[in-house]
């Protein structure tokens, strides 16, 4: 999440965001973290990984891991058909996120953004860095660092190895 510090010293969340849909909900990702958007392609499953990791695909000769954002956010319903893949990067890591459909690039001001309350609807609100309201849209802004950290599979797999995960 690119943060800029304004004159008062507070971190600003204003900037350009790529918005996309998961089901009927609209989300946003800071545009600077988005590398590219590619169409859906057959994903090679990688065994023994948490279910939110779909697998890997070939991105111009590089092996790119692909995460299912719906599962990552704890959504219970699967998408009816796959949409596309948003390739993001942070901390030198490249990752693909499966989303239903991409919407547009919008510029959001600090005034439009408020903190995310604890919904209790099953969505993992710690992955959000704010909620944007404006122009009649409610957009849930994702904190890319939190999303990538939460997809740290080594933590998930070590939690798994003690039990009957074989």
């Amino acid at each position: 999440m690119p943060t800029s510090v304004d004159a008062a010293g507070a971190t600003s969340r204003a900037g350009k965001y790529l918005t996309f849909y998961l089901g009927s909900e609209e989300y946003g990702l800071a545009i600077l973290t988005v590398s590219e958007i590619i169409g859906m392609q057959p994903v090679t499953r990688v065994p023994r990984l948490p279910p939110f990791v779909r697998g890997v695909i070939n991105l111009r000769g590089k092996v790119l891991p692909v995460t299912d954002l719906r599962r990552k956010l704890g959504m219970t319903h699967e998408a009816e058909h796959d949409g596309c893949i948003v390739v993001v990067h942070a901390h030198g890591l490249l990752m693909g996120l499966v989303v239903d459909r991409v919407s547009e690039v919008v510029t959001l001001a600090d005034a439009d953004i408020t903190d995310a309350p604890a919904f209790g609807s099953g969505i993992r609100t710690e992955l959000l860095c704010g909620i944007a309201t404006g122009g009649g849209h409610v957009r849930l802004l994702l904190d890319i660092d939190a999303v990538l950290a939460a997809t740290d599979v080594s933590v998930a797999t070590s939690a798994c190895s003690g039990g009957n995960c074989l």
């Binding site: 090679t44 070939n58 092996v63």
Partner: protein
């Protein structure tokens, strides 16, 4: 005034990296020549090679203002010129002194190289002044130099690609290039191969009147294939460089243990990827030391058993179907099965009276903490070596096997891929998924008859093949693949692994051999057990490369847990 122990680098450092790389090449050649000179003190050419090395290093060092190197090289040169003028006989002590001089000069170069990365102060290696005095007085006992690790002889900085260290340096036919550029070139050629095969496989070419287009595509394919062969060959170096380092190890170890040993090499023109050659050096050094220290008997013992007085360590390499096979044989006392079992039982590595085949027993050598010597010599008795050797070989995607004739010989056979950049694998299908199994690990594949299958109580399924009972590993279970073939008689059993870890992997179908460029899986995924990487297949999709050893271990873990689960 106490002797100086440090110096400062000159201000102009631009020429230093080249000097270090070139100097190290000359010193490598000098070492080889000195060993030849020891065999034949009349070898004029060897003597001249050594001279050329000391003289060139001295001259360039003087030009660059590295006075301590100049002084030392001059002393070494003077000793040899006394030999050349026949003022001094070339005795064994003289030879040792000269070799130690080469070691010291190499250490000096390493010092300078380290200083380049630091603040410009470079430390004189320990023993410098004693060595210098010994050279001028020609008194080898005065040099109390700890034997240098041979692997530090290579002071070439990461930016240089060296050609083989031959005695005659043919500088005009080589060129230095950066290895990172070379790697990138090879990577791009790999992508070109895939892109080209995707064009060739495109559906449009199968329909209609496309014969003209198909011809052009075939023509391009030929060019791309040749380009790929060429780019692969650029990373290859002959094993000669690696083998040459071992001659010194044999000599030093033999001297230290009071034995007579000669090293014979064969097939040192066989080429292998430069990275693999580097990784092979340390394991080979350890095994050669072992062979001389533990394998070859003392001269008195050899006389008593009517063996040739001079023990032989033979190192051979040959290349066969995409693999390089390196064999290390010594004609020493061989491995003693009983002694190995006793030691392993003592160390708690195996249960007493555990039934073991010969290859299981010999495989004990690779267990961590295993060593059959009573006293731990500073050469090779520590017992940490062979398991690291095996692990290093596995990192190189290779394998190692031992055979022995007690009282007569021990042979280590190592199988290595030609290069890590490209993996020769067998594409297999398990359910709807595809895996690549590296060819170096596959022995054979077979469709079993029902009579060959059996269940071993508490250990799972097994197949009887050529008198050997092998555990069956169901890949579909290890990797959770739905819709896979469950009945081995309708699928295929792929026999993989070495020694006591031979197993049969159950797959649905063999899809054919394929050469792939192995790519690491993203660090974001962490370490995926059983998978060593990914590769782009001909249809553009990613195929997972199987890590055979990990997969076997995973399955044993799983079976052991099931076993405990049943027992409660």
């Amino acid at each position: 005034m106490p002797p100086l122990t440090r110096d400062t680098l000159p201000d102009d450092r631009e020429l230093l990296p080249d000097f270090l790389a070139e100097g190290s090449e000359y010193l490598c050649a000098a070492e080889v020549a000195l060993l030849r000179l020891e065999e034949d003190p009349t070898d004029e050419e060897a003597l001249n090679t050594v001279f050329r090395a000391f003289h060139t290093v001295k001259g360039t060092a003087a030009f660059l203002g590295l006075t301590h190197i100049v002084t030392f090289a001059h002393a070494a040169e003077s000793l040899l010129s006394r030999v050349r003028e026949h003022q001094h006989p070339y005795t064994r002590d003289c030879a040792t002194l000269s070799l130690r001089a080469v070691d010291m000069l190499t250490a000096l170069l390493v010092s300078v190289s380290d200083a380049l990365d630091g603040d410009g102060t470079w430390l004189l290696p320990a023993g410098y002044h004693d060595a210098l005095r010994a050279l001028t007085e020609c008194n080898p006992d005065a040099i109390a130099l700890a034997p240098l690790d041979v692997s530090t002889n290579d002071v070439v900085t990461d930016n240089g690609v060296t050609d083989a260290a031959r005695a005659e340096l043919t500088v005009e036919s080589t060129i230095r290039i950066r290895t990172d550029r070379l790697d990138r070139l090879i990577e791009m050629v790999g992508e070109l191969v895939i892109a080209q095969s995707m064009i060739a496989g495109d559906a449009t070419l199968q329909h209609g009147d496309t014969s003209a287009l198909a011809q052009k595509v075939t023509h391009t394919a030929k060019i791309v294939r040749e380009l790929q062969d060429l780019s692969m060959s650029m990373r290859m170096v002959p094993l000669r460089t690696t083998f040459q380092k071992l001659a010194r190890v044999v000599r030093d170890t033999a001297m230290k243990t009071g034995k007579n040993v000669q090293l014979i090499t064969q097939g040192d023109e066989v080429e292998i990827d430069r990275a693999l050659a580097d990784m092979l050096t340390d394991p080979l050094i350890h095994m050669v030391r072992n062979a001389v220290d533990h394998g070859i008997e003392r001269p008195s013992e050899r006389d008593a058993t009517r063996k040739a007085r001079i023990g032989t360590v033979r190192l051979s390499a040959c290349s066969a179907s995409g693999q390089v096979v390196v064999q290390l044989t010594d004609d020493g006392r061989g491995l003693n099965r009983e002694q190995l079992i006793t030691k392993a039982t003592q160390r708690g590595l195996i249960a007493p009276n555990h039934m073991m085949t010969d290859s299981d027993v010999y495989g004990l050598i690779f267990a961590p903490g295993f060593s059959t010597t009573e006293s731990i010599t500073d050469i090779s008795g520590r017992g940490v070596g062979m398991d690291i050797v095996r692990r290093n070989l596995e990192t190189m995607r290779g394998s190692i096997e031992i055979t022995t004739t007690p009282g007569a010989s021990t042979t280590f056979t190592m199988r290595l891929p030609l290069t890590l950049a490209v993996t020769d694998g067998m594409l297999v299908r398990v359910g709807g998924e595809r895996f690549i199994v590296p060819l170096t690990h596959i022995h054979m594949s077979v469709r079993p008859d029902a009579e060959m299958l059996s269940t071993v109580i508490g250990q799972g399924e097994a197949v009887l093949l050529r008198g050997e009972l092998l555990p069956i590993i169901r890949l579909h279970r290890v990797f959770d693949v739905p819709d896979a073939e469950q009945n081995p008689t309708h699928g295929l059993l792929m026999i993989v692994g070495d020694g006591d870890r031979r197993s049969a992997l159950l797959v649905d179908e063999l899809l054919g051999q394929q050469q792939v460029v192995a790519k690491p899986l993203s660090p974001a995924l962490g370490n995926v057990p059983g998978v060593s990487g990914g590769a782009i297949l001909g249809d553009g999709r990613v195929g997972l490369i199987l890590d055979v050893n990990e997969t076997v271990n995973l399955s044993h873990l799983h079976q052991r847990r099931l076993h405990h689960a049943y027992l409660g």
